[in-house]
Symmetry: C2
Subunit: 115 residues, 2 copies
Amino acid sequence: MVKRKENSTSSLNENYWKENCGITRTLCLIGGHWKINILAFLLKEKILRYHELRKRLHGISERMLIAKLKELENDGLVTRTVYQQVPPKVEYSLSELGSSLESIIQLMDHWGETH
Amino acid sequence: MVKRKENSTSSLNENYWKENCGITRTLCLIGGHWKINILAFLLKEKILRYHELRKRLHGISERMLIAKLKELENDGLVTRTVYQQVPPKVEYSLSELGSSLESIIQLMDHWGETH
DNA sequence: TAGGATACTGACAAAAAAGTAAGTATGGTG
DNA sequence: CACCATACTTACTTTTTTGTCAGTATCCTA
């Protein structure tokens, strides 16, 4: 995890837009690389284990998958359930908030397929 | 303009997803920083000159604005009209393809405002 | 003839995102 | 006791994106 500089022009500017623009807020949550793909798989398959996601997200590295899952979890879009057993078992699914993105995700998918 | 490496893992991977996933294709066109904000202003105000866009996009640099407008134009989302006069006058507006993103943009805006 | 207005362009540097590869933990199995 | 499976973690490097800032072109006006 690399922390961002807090006083870079980019950071300050991003904060301004997050405070003043709904689109920017939405994009911050789902816009990064992989995030919306993760959400889309969870939307389709409801519950997926870590390595099941990994298999579906062709080309993702473990580092990225973990990082993006953590962001999605911190933002409240994804729920992480840990089963106390060995070997470990962790399941991911959409939270209620995550599910509320369904129509956006479907529209984007449909638009991409038809244009 | 800095050109990307064509054989980096990221590039190859991006190509794979563009070919196989509608969401990724959509996100490539509207997902980058500023792009959807530009589209949103054009959606609202129909036609804007270069420096009018610049005033609205708080904090954007000229370099970024030009770069993003060029990407949007190359992707066929935005139409650029040059008037041969001095000082120069250039107008930007949504193409038909760009306008077809309206519902996605509105949904994202609405979602960001309510969540 | 020196600005002014508008829409850019280019070189260089900083910041952010992503890739690579090796390591951690733990109980069960051979 | 070595090894397996699963879900991560960490340090380091490369790639990509963005910021900064000075410069270009052209006709008009003072």
